[in-house]
């Protein structure tokens, strides 16, 4: 499968009162056709900002400092954020759904209207056709009584339902890529599962690609084929899901996996948290950002700049100077 979207060395900065925040500090990733990719990291690591950057939806005081986003042979970042080219991509070729279903829909417009406006805009449908299509879309995402519900307002739907509507809106114009930014974080566990299954199913059907941005490792374990782990604005590990779960090689990823309770462990085994706090992104030192919390750090880490990604084996890269396999000599999974 060929590469659909390639991001090269993206940097997004925010000028704040306290200083320059490098929310995204040079990340590169790609997504292929019909692939599901996970972008994992804790709050504040820059994963949401990176996706908003791809869509050029960064609010002031933020701005994209540098980088390229290659999609369909063109660099999206060269387009003006409000220009016609970018607008023809948003919602049509690349669609995004957000974390908060309760506030992501306009309270004074009907669900139907919010669906039809994209159809009218990108697919040039007329009123009736778009309305019919909207009803079909609602059925597709599992909203019962779609014909009557299409005239309802967002506040008449539950959180899970609203997120389904968001999915319907995103998929309405048959996008090549769907970006889901923490799509299930605000929902309860059962709804989470339903929604993720729905997304996978639809993405397969539409033959689209999916980027799931989340802090929840369980979500990516099940659905993603490849994973990128982000920390403090950079990617620290990337690889196939199997590989990363079986052989995590970056100290941060190891730490993350150690925090997750497992069914097959002894019941009295303690969860090991990662010591310390996430870094303050203002005025970061040039050394590795994870250094203060890293149990595997050594002299090199203190002297050199933040490590670049280096290949460990096939499709598995880490940004670290330590040789974990040597130090650990054990694997996480049995």
């Amino acid at each position: 499968m060929s590469v659909l979207l390639e991001v090269r060395n993206l940097k997004t900065h925010f000028k704040t009162e306290s200083g320059l925040v490098k929310a995204v500090d040079g990340i590169s990733y790609h997504i292929d056709e019909q692939e599901i990719v996970g972008l994992v990291g804790e709050s504040g690591c820059g994963k949401s900002v990176s996706q908003l950057s791809v869509m050029q939806l960064i609010p002031t005081p933020g701005e994209i400092a540098s980088g390229e986003v290659i999609f369909e042979g063109q660099d999206l970042l060269k387009f003006k954020s409000g220009g016609a080219e970018m607008r023809s991509i948003r919602g049509a070729k690349i669609a995004m759904i957000f974390q908060e279903p309760m506030t992501s829909l306009n309270p004074v417009l009907t669900i139907g209207r919010q669906l039809t406006e994209t159809l009218e805009l990108h697919l040039s449908m007329d009123r009736e056709a778009s309305r019919e299509q909207a009803i079909e879309l609602l059925k597709l995402v599992g909203i019962p009584s779609a014909e009557s519900r299409v005239e309802d307002y967002p506040h008449q739907f539950s959180g899970g339902m609203r997120q389904r509507v968001m999915i319907a809106m995103a998929l309405s114009c048959d996008p090549r890529i769907l970006i889901a930014d923490e799509p299930t974080t605000a929902l309860d566990v059962t709804t989470q599962a339903q929604l993720l299954e729905l997304m996978k199913d639809l993405v397969d059907r539409f033959r689209a690609s999916l980027i799931i941005v989340t802090h929840n490792l369980g979500v990516v374990a099940r659905y993603a084929q490849r994973i990128y782990v982000m920390y403090a604005g950079r990617i620290v590990e990337e690889g196939t899901t199997k590989d990363i779960f079986a052989h995590p090689l970056h100290p941060y990823t190891i730490g993350l996996l150690k925090c997750v309770p497992r069914l097959d462990e002894e019941p009295d085994k303690k969860l090991v948290p990662i010591v310390g706090l996430p870094p303050n992104l203002v005025n970061m030192p040039p050394t590795c950002a994870f250094l203060p919390r890293c149990p595997y750090s050594s002299g090199i880490c203190r002297q050199k700049h933040w490590p670049e990604l280096r290949q460990i084996h096939d499709n598995h890269y880490i940004a670290c100077y330590a040789d974990i396999q040597e130090k650990q000599g054990e694997s996480i999974t049995k």
Binding site: R87, R90, F98, S104, L105, P107, Y153
Partner: protein, 305 residues
């Protein structure tokens, strides 16, 4: 609530110091000394010798029949006076209301959308000045500038548009501007801050993410939400415009309800004052009702309760 208002008005008038009958008599062209019986007779003629509650009932009864009583001083029917003055004030008030929001709301939207640029700064300064200026003084300034010096606009008076449309238009430009000014400024400020709030919301980000144009995002998504608090403000503008008319009609010598009320209050003419205030109260209540209804139409969450 209307009943309460009428009772308050009625009581207030009765409590005014001074006896209107005596005032009337002393202003009468008969400058002879009126005997006590004659005073009593006049009092009886106007029904002012009955106990208060009977007077009230009489008056309400009259109101329901469309008869607001007779003015002691002018000797003519209050209803006639009001019928003459009300359309004028309504006309000015409605035009002022429309002008204020027609300019104020879009100005506020522009300020919010072009926040920090010169359009925003400029309009915000104007708005801040607009709410601080005493409207009667602005009227006088305008009369001086446009009327006396430049001679572009007539400085006083009122003509019905039916009689002479062009003259009527030129005459109302300045009064309407003065009446509308504080509300134009207020709605600019209010719209601006409401829109700034709305623009930060998640659903606006969703709208952008769908690839909609700026114009669509602002007009279809943002404005409909941002305008909700402005409607409440607009509701408050209606009684205030009436209040403003008291001043503006005095400055521009317009024979409307405001002038009527002031004259009547100063001469303690019960009947006229009661009638005027009753009319104003009714209009305000009706317009508040209209505001409530439009609020429900704009905000679907309210509708379904």
């Amino acid at each position: 609530m209307l009943i309460l208002a009428t009772m308050i008005v009625f009581l207030l008038m009765r409590l005014l110091p001074g006896d209107p009958i005596l005032l009337y008599v002393s202003q009468d062209e008969f400058s002879r000394i009126t005997s006590a019986e004659e005073i009593a007779a006049i009092r009886h003629q106007f029904g002012l010798d009955k106990p208060y509650h009977l007077q009230y009932i009489d008056w309400i009864g009259g109101v329901l029949r469309g008869d607001l009583g007779r003015s002691i001083f002018l000797g003519i029917s209050v209803s006639d006076e009001i019928r003459r003055a009300l359309p004028i004030s309504l006309y000015l008030g409605i035009v002022a209301f429309i002008v204020a929001h027609l300019f104020g709301i879009p100005a506020g939207v522009i300020c919010a959308v072009r926040r920090g640029r010169w359009a925003d700064t400029f309009l915000t300064i104007l708005a801040n000045l607009g709410i601080t200026a005493p409207i009667f003084w602005v009227g006088i300034l305008m009369i001086y500038g446009f009327g006396l010096h430049l001679g572009w606009l007539p400085i006083q008076g009122y003509t019905s548009p039916a009689e002479n449309f062009w003259l009527s238009l030129r005459q109302i430009i300045m009064p309407v501007f003065c009446l509308a000014l504080p509300h134009m400024a207020g709605s600019t400020r209010q719209t601006r801050s409401a829109m700034l709030e709305v623009i930060r919301q998640d659903y606006i980000r969703t709208a952008w993410a769908k690839g909609l144009r700026e114009r669509t995002v602002i007009m279809r998504h943002a404005v409909k939400n941002g305008i909700i608090p402005v409607v409440t403000l607009a509701g408050m503008a209606i009684p205030r415009i009436f209040g403003g008319q008291v001043l503006i009609e005095t400055v521009f010598n317009i024979p409307g309800m405001g002038r009527l009320a002031v004259d009547a209050l100063f001469s303690q003419d019960y009947a006229v004052t009661q009638g005027v205030i009753l009319m104003i109260a009714m209009i305000i209540v009706l317009s508040n009702l209209a505001v409530d209804i439009s609020y429900g139409w704009l905000n679907p969450k309210v509708r379904y309760q």
